[in-house]
Amino acid sequence: MKITDLFRIKKSVLTSEVGPVKGSVRPNPKSEKPKCLQEALAVRDYVDAVNVTDNQSAVMRLGSLPASVRLKESGIEPIYQITCRDRNRIALQSDILTAHSFGIDNILALTGDYTSLGDHRSAKPVFDLDSVQLIKIADGLKKGYDMMGHELTQAPDFALGAVVNPNFEPLDLQLLKMEKKIEAGAEFFQTQAVYDPRIFERFINIASGFGVPIQLGIVLVKSSKMAKFMNENVSGINVPENWIQEYDRAGTSKAKDVCVNLTSELVRELAPMCNGVHFMPLGWSSMVPEIIDKAGISKS
């Protein structure tokens, strides 16, 4: 199922995200389901699709494609994330064809975090293409041609998504790139995590005019320590000071309650401005259903 079909008929499309495990997921009678699958199952009844990250933060893990296929086999609609960091233009096009061949209907194309942020810091960063180029080339594959103009024996078909960071300063420059992505073939957007309603409002007031569905992105904050860490280390994320104080006041034992309250409040306020919400729970997938219920939103 292409997520773009849902955007056409629904006011709000909900997605969540899982990160593949650092290990193989070949079924083994003795092993339990891999954590990424368990997490996806925890949100299956509450969201329309689940993103599968591509060696997120440049940390080496199972590929996003086999993890996406495992989700699909379990009745969960995957959004296969693909980044430009680790593969050149030959491998990226090939992987897109492979993904479609394995039943993937949704692809999210990103630049990718730089190698030095991850656990293989001496790796050679590829970045043969940028995200705009990858989107344009993926769009070309859908039309039946590779980037060199060679005809494909069978064209893939998928919903092609992209990301945008509403926190970026100057915003005009980020919007300029967003428009280039749309021009290149991006059909829907998920935003970087936004915590400040004013920032989201400023962004959505302009971007909603671009005519493509936009989902608000939310990273679940687990503690004040994590919030501070993200503010210092995760690109483009700014958790406001009042959130950090809430977590400090409540203490570790109540952190999940604070997370549910603050996130659902934020979602309740911002979700009506856009076309849905994309949750990035970073291991707290089990919290997503409660947040969705409390925010008063639903997948259908």
Partner: protein, 220 residues
């Protein structure tokens, strides 16, 4: 200018492990400017080798080692010393070490040539005695006409051609918070020039075959 820095002394001594007699050479071009392979540096390196128990047969300093005739010229007249040495230690760039090997081969010598420096890039910008930095990667397909004279291939960590990633914080690159985001610099420059609209044009993937190695230019 080719930027060079010293290899750790342990690594140099390890490379010369089987060699008792050594000729130390430098380069009076780039390595001199980098203060890694000029006259004072080959002298200092010779002292360190002597202190480590080596015998330094002689010190030679070609004017610019990348010009093979300068290198051969600096070696001529030293044939007896070359014959007697166990190895050469070159304080120059990777090209200098290979030209030294080639010059020796052309003179009929088969001698191990070891390098004492690591080459760290083509430094196109030099603030004398202070700093050398790379602003151009010699990609073979210059985009400066479209980017306000600021190179995203070199100055953006991800070499993005169609605008910034989402990672910049306070105008700084997500990879190195000390470094300005290249695309914000490009945007500000184009804005000042009244040319922001030009950034809306799609830039196609680069032809990286122009960077396939080894590259060459036919002169004359």
């Amino acid at each position: 200018m080719i930027g060079t820095v010293y290899k750790p002394m342990d690594e140099i001594l390890s490379a010369l492990e089987d060699c008792e007699k050594v000729i130390v050479t430098g380069c009076n071009g780039c390595a001199k400017v980098c203060k890694t392979g000029g006259e004072p540096e080959i002298k200092s390196m010779s002292e360190k080798l002597e202190a480590a128990g080596k015998t330094v047969v002689t010190q030679l300093l070609p004017e610019r080692t990348c010009y093979i005739q300068h290198t051969t010229g600096a070696f001529q007249g030293h044939e007896d010393e070359i014959r007697s040495t166990d190895a050469f230690l070159v304080l120059g760039c990777g090209g200098a070490a290979q030209i030294t090997r080639q010059a020796l081969e052309e003179m009929g010598f088969l001698k191990p040539v070891k390098i004492g420096l690591d080459s760290v890039g083509h430094m196109d910008t030099v603030v004398a005695n202070k700093l050398a930095l790379e602003q151009c990667q010699e990609c073979g397909e210059c985009v400066l006409n479209e980017t306000g004279g600021i190179c995203p291939v070199t100055k953006c960590a991800k070499s993005l051609l169609n605008g910034p990633c989402g990672g910049a914080q306070n105008g700084k690159c997500e990879v190195d918070p000390e470094r300005d985001c290249a695309w914000i610099m490009i945007y500000e420059r184009m804005k000042a020039l009244g040319e922001v609209n030009k950034l809306k044009v799609y830039t196609a993937p680069k032809d990286y075959s122009k960077m396939n190695k080894p590259r060459r230019v036919v002169l004359g």
